[in-house]
């Protein structure tokens, strides 16, 4: 089943002005249910722009784009996806739990339901005892986990993540990757994940979409799928597997245009 389908999509900012920028050119991509797409490319090539187009946060310039068979705006209004950014983007005046409750409040959940779900999410991201902590009292990695809990809280079938682990140290990052995969398998989510780390892209994804510098175009797509559908595969094993290194090399070559 197609979750996201993009054809001949282009995006130009500030059309007709001095500061016109062609951010994306003629993108074609289809994402099916359960896939984990990693988007990788040099900085400024339009990865975030692509994510925001899919999320219906900015209008497309030309081409076609549908999410769950709807326009992105409609999909957004029907809360078809959850979103997470590089910085956790928590509201400083809300506790961890209240931050997770935010989308649920907007969707009109009752208070009891909200608290129940938020607590479940906190357990999921292993922050059970930090429910009442404010963002300022949490480390960067903990904040990011709260943000992921928030993105997942209303069970969106699609997750849009923009370098969510970009600011984390390597150890926390790998730990978060494991948790994210675990959560996604449990919830059977489809994920589009922007990163600038090649190993991260390879480790997480079923497919790596490699983009070229501005104007952003898809230069190649590398099938990774190291788990081959086996969700119980040992993550450490995969990270040390020869296939992993091969794919890393393959993506690197695609990225540098070899």
């Amino acid at each position: 089943m197609e979750v996201v389908s993009i054809s001949n999509l282009s995006k130009i900012f500030n059309t007709g002005k001095d500061n016109e920028v062609e951010a994306l050119r003629e993108i074609d991509l289809t994402v099916t249910k359960g896939e984990f797409i990693a988007l990788i490319g040099p900085s400024g090539c339009g990865k975030s722009t692509m994510l925001r187009l899919i999320g219906g946060l900015i209008p497309i310039t030309s081409g076609e784009l549908s999410v769950n068979g709807k326009t992105p705006t409609k999909a957004r209004e029907e809360r078809d996806y959850g979103m997470a950014f590089q910085s956790a983007g928590l509201l400083e005046w809300r506790t961890a739990r209240k931050n997770i409750e935010l989308p649920l409040e907007l969707m009109g959940w009752s208070k009891a339901e909200r608290i129940k779900r938020a607590n479940e999410m906190l357990e999921l991201v292993q922050l059970g005892e930090f429910a009442r902590s404010r963002p300022a009292e949490l480390s960067g990695g903990m904040q990011q986990r709260v943000a992921i809990g928030r993105a997942l809280s209303f069970n969106p079938a699609l997750l849009l993540m923009d370098e969510p682990f970009g600011a984390l140290d390597e150890m926390t990052r790998e730990h978060m990757q494991d948790q994210l995969l675990d959560i996604c398998h449990k919830t059977e989510s489809t994920v589009i994940f922007v990163t600038h780390s090649i190993p991260e892209a390879v480790f997480l994804s079923t497919r790596v979409v490699v983009m070229s510098p501005r104007p952003g175009q898809i230069s190649s797509i590398v099938e990774t799928n190291l788990r081959a559908g086996d969700n119980t595969a040992d993550n450490t094993k995969i990270r040390n597997d020869e296939r992993f290194y091969k794919k890393v090399t393959e993506v690197r070559e695609a990225l540098y245009g070899k």
Binding site: R76, L91, E105
Partner: protein, 304 residues
């Protein structure tokens, strides 16, 4: 309650208060020393020192001894009449009431304006310059005229219009400004990330306003409230002064009276200054306390 208050007065705050008291003591000492210096001079030296009245002269008319000033508080205009300290106290209460009404009215107007202006860039560009221009109009100087408005045809109001209400309206002209300006700043302070996040939830403008913009602007608003509280007291006093004798029984009226009769008792000029100072500090300190309590509970940083 007492314990809570004590907690709010943390070490830094206590130190600041002590420093201020030390400053006042120093000021009194410097005053006395300066006076002693001036009085020790002979006539010829005195003419040289106080040439062109650049420095205040040190005779008792210009600079009454501190103890005389303090004892003036306990005196009264007529034997058996109300003492000056109790006049000042009830005057301060009267002025604080005006200031409070001005603060509330100005804050509401400022907030509404801020919400409207934060809605569109064009509205902000069109109206903001006029909000600034409004502050260059010395409306406060024409309080007498505005008081007359109050007396003209306000029968449709369910309550009787009093002069002090006109003073409040005038003072609120000074208080709405910081609230409007800082309000817009605060409402526009959320990062684009927070706004996009809300959009990704399909949130309406109203819920973005309630859940993101208002809470984010709280620290900005308290900065404004501190300015507005001070401005409200200033506005109330100036308003009373410029409404002259008809101004009721506020501090401004007392200051004006003391100034008019200062030849008889220069000490009273100082009573007015001290009374106004304490009143201004009280209003300011009250907002600081509320700010600390609320921002502590929301976990937000106090903006200086």
């Amino acid at each position: 309650m007492g314990k809570k208050l004590f907690l709010l007065l943390n070490k830094a705050a206590v130190r600041r208060i002590l420093i201020f008291i030390a400053f006042l003591v120093l000021l009194a000492l410097a005053y006395t020393a300066y006076k002693a210096f001036g009085q020790a001079l002979d006539d010829r030296q005195r003419d040289w020192w106080f040439i062109g009245s650049f420095f205040p002269r040190t005779d008792d008319r210009n600079m009454p001894p501190i103890l005389d000033i303090l004892s003036e508080f306990g005196k009264s205009p007529r034997i058996g009449g109300e003492t000056y300290i109790s006049q000042l106290f009830s005057g301060a209460l009267f002025t604080l009431r005006e200031a409070f009404v001005a603060f509330v009215v100005g804050s509401i107007v400022g907030l509404v304006l801020a919400v409207l202006l934060a809605q569109s860039k064009l509205a902000e560009r069109g109206v903001m310059p006029w909000v600034i221009v409004s502050q260059t109009i010395p409306l406060i100087a024409i309080t007498p005229l505005v008081v007359l408005w109050g007396q003209a045809n306000l029968d449709f109001l369910p309550w009787e219009w009093k002069t002090w209400m006109s003073v409040s309206v005038i003072a609120s002209y000074l208080t709405f400004f910081p609230v409007a300006v800082n309000g817009v700043r605060g409402l526009l302070s959320p990062s684009s990330e927070h706004l996009e996040l809300m959009q990704s939830y399909g949130a309406s403008r109203v819920s973005i306003l309630w859940k993101i913009r208002f809470p984010a602007s709280l620290p900005f608003l308290f900065t404004a409230f501190k300015l507005a509280a001070t401005a409200a007291v200033v506005g109330a006093i100036v308003g009373e002064i410029s409404t002259g004798v008809s101004g009721g029984q506020g501090l401004g009226k007392l200051i004006f009276e003391f100034a008019r009769t200062y030849a008889a008792a220069p000490e009273r000029l100082y009573l007015g200054v001290i009374g106004a100072g304490i009143t201004g500090l009280f209003a300011f300190g009250l907002i600081v306390l509320v700010e600390k309590t609320i921002l502590n509970s929301t976990g937000q940083q106090i903006r200086e």
